[in-house]
């Protein structure tokens, strides 16, 4: 009688658990066009994009690489400085010649300001579909799909990062403080409001509604939640310059730093990955977690490092 019951069918697409908890390095020896990766981005289709200094952009999808350069595509420049995505799934590539846009149907278009040179540093699409584009020297631009507006304050002309949070606020990290747009007005945060430094370099809104704030000269990183502003001490009681912040699929927060390597915070204890314990180098420019449980780190001179999270 027991054999009348059905048994669960085993799926064919099971992943190999032995491939987890592993570091992989991609560089020119493995086919990457350059060894300095200054931008990493995971799009809504879970494809990974990498800005390789002077070498265009690399896309990693379904285990294979595609490279876009001026020689094989309509990209405006090989100097890609940042990557983003709009609400329609088009990929935005900030270059030193303007913005190249690669649609989901693989057609190229572009945006160039004829009156001035714009050095794009970041893109963020907010909950209303507005595209926020940060620049060095020219404040930030807001594009609603039809028109582009520029927000320029002399004190906040250099924008390092822009992030929208779950409440709909948009945060702008500048060289002179953190701007918060709550939908009706801007407010400013800096040392006086509890940040460790006025030079805000990186922002990340995590899955637990915390906004992480990295600074250039702080001894701590900060996060803001419903209870206020908090500080997390990192290592050796010294200044840690944060280049980028991301979260992995397991909820760990990763800090890419200048000269202090990589720091993982498991929400209790920070752990360092540096040259002395096997990490390729101590200058980590950028970081992004994907939905498959990998975290990608763009390095200053050693290429791209990928960590596949462990499963337990």
């Amino acid at each position: 009688m027991f054999f009348t019951f059905s048994c669960e069918k085993i799926p064919d697409n099971l992943k190999d658990s032995s491939a987890t908890d592993k570091w992989t390095l991609f560089n020119t020896a493995t086919g990457l066009p350059g060894n300095q990766v200054r931008g990493t981005f995971c799009d809504s289709k879970d494809n990974m994009w990498f800005a390789v200094s002077g070498q265009g952009v690399a896309k990693f999808a379904n285990g294979s690489w595609t490279y876009y350069r001026t020689s094989n595509s309509a990209i405006l420049s090989n100097n890609v400085t940042c990557i983003g995505e709009d609400a329609d799934g088009n990929i935005l590539l900030g270059t030193t010649n303007g913005v190249s846009i690669l649609s989901s149907s693989n057609t190229w278009s572009s945006f160039r300001d004829q009156t001035k040179t714009l050095y794009f540093t970041c893109f963020e699409t907010d909950k209303d579909g507005l595209i926020w584009a940060g620049t060095y020297g020219q404040g930030f631009l807001i594009f609603d799909g039809a028109e582009i507006g520029q927000v320029f304050y002399e004190a906040f002309k250099d924008v390092n990062d822009i992030e929208s949070d779950s409440k709909g606020n948009v945060w702008v990290a500048t060289e002179n403080g953190l701007l918060k747009w709550d939908g009706s007005r801007f407010s400013v945060m800096g040392i006086a409001e509890g940040l460790p430094d006025d030079v805000v370099t990186a922002l990340y809104s995590d899955s637990r509604n915390r906004l992480w704030i990295g600074t250039y000269f702080g001894k701590t990183v900060s996060w803001i939640d419903s209870q206020g502003i908090h500080q997390l001490a990192l290592f050796n009681d010294r200044i840690v310059e944060i280049n980028d912040i991301c979260e992995d699929a397991a909820g760990n927060i990763w800090f890419a730093t200048y000269t202090s390597g990589l720091i993982k915070f498991d929400n209790v204890v920070p752990y360092a990955y540096k040259k002395y314990n096997g990490f390729p180098e101590d200058d980590v420019l950028t970081s992004t977690g994907d939905k498959d449980g990998n975290v990608w780190f763009g390095l200053y001179s050693k290429g791209l490092s990928r960590y596949s999270l462990p499963i337990n």
């Binding site: 658990s17 209870q227 209790v268 920070p270 499963i311």
Partner: protein, 356 residues
Amino acid sequence: MKQVLIWTVIFFSVLMPGATINAQQEKQARDKFTLLTMPYNQRPLTLYKGQFQANAAYRFGVRTKSYDEHGDKISLKEDGAASVVHTYLLEVKYGITDFIEIGADSYFLRNGIRSETSSTISGSGTITANTLNEYRGFGDISLGAALRVPIEYKSWDISLKGGIILPAAEHEPSQPTHIITDYKSPNNYTVNYQFNNNNGSGVSQYFFSGAAKISLSKISIEARGAYRFPSKEGESKRWGWTLYGSTFTYYSNPYSYLPDRLLTINGSIHYQAAGWFDIFITNYYYKTSSGWTEYYDNKYANPESTLFTIEPGFELQISPSITIYQYAGFQIAGTNADAPFYLLTTLSFNMFPFFK
């Protein structure tokens, strides 16, 4: 699940009373003392008609080693992760006829696995982390029925068994109970992680097995193979946490999984040293396969594990109704498996409740 319950109710409500009546009518002429004191080498693979058996066992296990994916031995003592496993087992069986036996069993398991203490220099202080993985609770309930060849046992026997393991025990882990101790400053404290796991499998599973036994004078050989497989995939949850000051807040995320299929094969040689004393050595092998667990929206195949164990032991009859079994388990080889040394002691109580 409904179908399983219906079959279970039918199984017990229809067969059991009938068997009881038959046992009383037909067994009264047989000598229950002779049946209860039958040496191992003269016993069939299932109980006699009308015989009731209750087995209470305690298994003391010491986890000092495990095997990795290459079959290399890992010393858990050196890793600071050795632990003791306490398992309490209870089994009841009843012989409906001389050829049909039904039974049920379950267990309670307690195991606390401590990991090596780690220290992290943070800011101007040190954060020390201790981890305890606690497993505590009842296991699922197994219900089964065994059939043997309908002939009187003389020198050989064959039996088949099938059944279901009902997911009666809690499977989802309870909320962790992490605590901070020795708090001196935000960068100087000890964090004690405690994970509270349960022992249920979460879904019903089926099993079937076959056994054969041959006795040649005082020597007997017994072989047994069994296969267990899940009925469906299950849902569970993983806990996450955040530390605010010295207080943890918890959240959980759901995930799906499919328990492993399990193949076990064992063979044993017995020597009936006296009518009341039997010694034996068993080789025990298991292999798991085909299970998976969801991580990060992907399904990962569980690593296949194997383990080969040698179990020397004895059976000692204390009285017509009470027998003691004891054997030790020594792991010889394996892959992806814990390899605890264990000592299992069983107190077996036998009776014919419906004989006068």
